[in-house]
């Protein structure tokens, strides 16, 4: 299955086939994000030249050209679908070559695709313009071009958006690199763990601690517009759900009560949240306006109903309940009607999260090991993507093609770290964080 354009389009049995057939067949350079074991596309990414070398607050314009190429290469490599060549070891093209590539030079190195670009700026605080071009080396053809104008400090966003343009053009999938993660940064011994709310870019860069660790922070969730983070905080012996406003650095309590509240979840339009509240040991799921007010109870089983994740159209909610004995996954309408179980495999099923594409539900399966898996919203086509002692709490990339989750290791020195896996289950890697991490929440594509 290999043409001059390195087309990867393998027909697999079962669920994968359905995913594949739903994707448009492209005649040119094409990377399949769902095929297991596909070899990765060789993409040359030389440093981006600049018309004139000037200084910006983020470094000189030619240094930015090198760093932007570095970030694009790291993004593409991290997806597992590409083998980047460069920018280290490659000569940067001249400005003229950016739009007229020396194709023979790149094909001679074995590159199948070529990413070139430039950085243009007047220097100082002036905005920078980043050009981004993708070429098919064998066909000697331009596949896409994009331009981004950003403040110098936002140069990484220009790089992520260029990587997104390349990923989308070659896979036919929606982009996802230009997005952010909220998570819990962990330090200290296991019985006195300090847990701080923190945020970072999808690749771990631009890391920032939000809380200082004197309160115990858990389970953050980005609002769909990135303005706010809902999370749980223990202050002394008071547990509350807070909405933290990222720009203002202020937070407010979502709902004042002396009952136990946890597991906040945003609706896709950001106007309402789900949360779980325990009354005398019985936990149910409630819905409340983001602006506050009285909550509406959605579940009333005598067991533990917890969590919840909206379908992208906001009409359904997938949640977790032990009403049948152990934890299983259920779906209901957004008003709480028509609650029915969808998981029937052995073991327990927890932490369901509806894909932003709507086609899959990610979960934690507990049967010996804790493993991350996906299934269709009707419960069919279950596939497990990871196998480790304790993988937990998946969160979807904006395009519904990649998951992050946290992995805990055993023993007194056991630690937690954030990992990423794609839907093949093959491309798994650790996301770098300055300290240990848990509870990742992947936001949508940045506006």
């Amino acid at each position: 299955m290999r043409t001059a354009f390195s087309i990867r389009f393998q027909i697999l049995a079962s669920a994968l086939a359905a995913l594949l057939l739903a994707a448009p067949v492209m005649a040119q350079l094409k990377v399949d994000v769902t095929a297991e074991g596909s070899s990765s596309l060789k993409v040359a990414i030389p440093a981006m030249p600049t018309q004139q070398v000037v200084d910006t607050p983020a470094g000189s314009s030619d240094a930015l050209g090198q760093k932007i190429a570095d970030v694009i290469a790291a993004d593409l490599k991290g997806s597992g679908l590409f083998t980047p060549m460069g920018p280290a070891g490659l000569a940067a093209p001249s400005m003229g070559e950016v739009t007229a590539p020396a194709y023979d030079r790149w094909s001679g190195m074995g590159a199948e695709a070529l990413v070139q670009g430039y950085v243009r700026t007047a220097g100082g605080d002036a905005q920078i313009t980043v050009g981004c071009y993708l070429y098919d080396v064998a066909l000697k053809q331009e596949l896409t071009r994009q331009g981004y104008v950003v403040a110098p400090r936002d140069w990484r966003r220009a790089a992520h958006r260029c990587a997104d343009a390349i990923y989308s053009r070659l896979t036919g999938e929606s982009p996802f690199f230009d997005s952010r993660i909220a998570y819990i940064a962990e330090t200290g011994p296991k019985d006195h763990r300090v847990k701080r709310l923190a945020i970072m870019d999808s690749d771990g860069a631009n890391h920032r601690f939000i809380t200082n660790g004197q309160s115990l922070a858990l389970t953050p969730r980005w609002s769909p517009d990135y303005k706010s983070i809902a999370y749980v905080s223990y202050i002394g012996k008071t547990v509350r759900i807070y909405l933290y406003n990222v720009d203002q650095g202020k937070q407010r309590v979502l709902y004042e009560t002396n009952k136990a509240v946890f597991a906040p979840r945003w609706s896709p339009d950001g106007r309402t949240l789900l949360f779980s509240m325990a009354t005398g040991g019985n936990t149910d799921i409630y819905k409340i306006a983001a602006s506050g007010g009285n909550p509406t109870r959605l579940t009333d089983s005598p067991g533990i109903d917890v969590g919840g994740s909206f379908s992208p159209d906001g009409r359904k909610i997938v949640f977790e309940s032990d009403r049948s004995g152990g934890q299983q996954i259920y779906v209901m309408n957004a008003d709480g009607t028509d609650q029915h179980r969808i998981s029937f495999g052995s073991g327990r099923f927890a932490t369901p999260e509806w894909s932003p594409r709507g086609d899959l539900i990610a979960f934690t399966r507990i049967a010996g090991n804790f493993r991350i898996g996906v299934m269709s919203p009707d419960g069919s086509g279950e596939r497990l993507l990871t196998n480790n002692w304790q993988d937990e709490a998946p969160t979807w990339s904006p395009n519904g093609r990649v998951l992050q989750f946290f992995r805990t290791s055993q023993g007194e020195k056991g630690t937690s770290s954030i990992w990423q896996v794609d839907l093949t289950g093959v491309n798994e890697r650790k996301i770098p964080t300055p300290v240990d991490g848990s509870d990742p929440s992947w936001g949508p594509l940045l506006p």
Partner: protein, 175 residues
């Protein structure tokens, strides 16, 4: 970073817990001064032994008085068995003796559960202990509950013995 009005010490709860776990050795030894040396000169009036032991009604007094400050649960369970009942009966006896005392009952889980489910399960366990104390006549208004889920283990190992110690509901006197 300090704009957030959230800054009380969670470590207070953790300190209280570590204090609990040390209770047995610290509370039980009797003061050594009375018996050891024979008095060389007879004293006209025997001095009463100096006051010792914890302040009545305090957390230290609670720990010294009750069978245990905690009850334990099976995996994913929250029922109160006979051993738990005996423990809670001793706690109820102490609570009747000090009717002004209030307790917080902390529910905990082992690490082999997902985080949010464990918050719900810890709440269930804390309430199971609270309900049993209430059935013994303790005013529910004197008892509050909090769930720590799997966030504050007592034993640190990843083995069944450690997990059994961590599936617990701990009564802590509010001071």
């Amino acid at each position: 970073m300090r704009k957030i009005p959230v800054l009380l010490l969670v470590t207070g709860a953790a300190l209280a817990l570590s204090a609990c776990s040390k209770k047995a050795p610290e509370a039980l030894p009797t003061p050594p001064q009375a018996v050891a040396t024979p008095a060389p000169t007879p004293t006209p009036t025997p001095t009463p032994p100096p006051p010792s032991g914890p302040r009545p009604g305090s957390q230290a007094d609670f720990l010294a008085s009750v069978t245990s400050d905690r009850v334990f649960f099976d995996t994913d369970k929250y029922d109160i068995d006979d051993a738990d009942k005996a423990t809670l009966q001793s706690q109820a006896t102490w609570l009747r003796k000090y009717p002004a005392a209030k307790v917080t009952i902390e529910g905990h889980c082992d690490e082999r559960g997902t985080r949010e489910y464990n918050l719900a399960l810890g709440d269930r366990r804390a309430n199971a202990a609270k309900n049993y104390l209430a059935s013994l006549g303790i005013d529910p208004g004197r008892m509050t509950t909090i769930s720590y889920g799997k966030e504050r283990p007592d034993a640190l190992g990843s083995d069944e013995a450690s997990w059994a110690k961590n599936r617990r509901a701990v009564s802590v006197v509010v001071e």
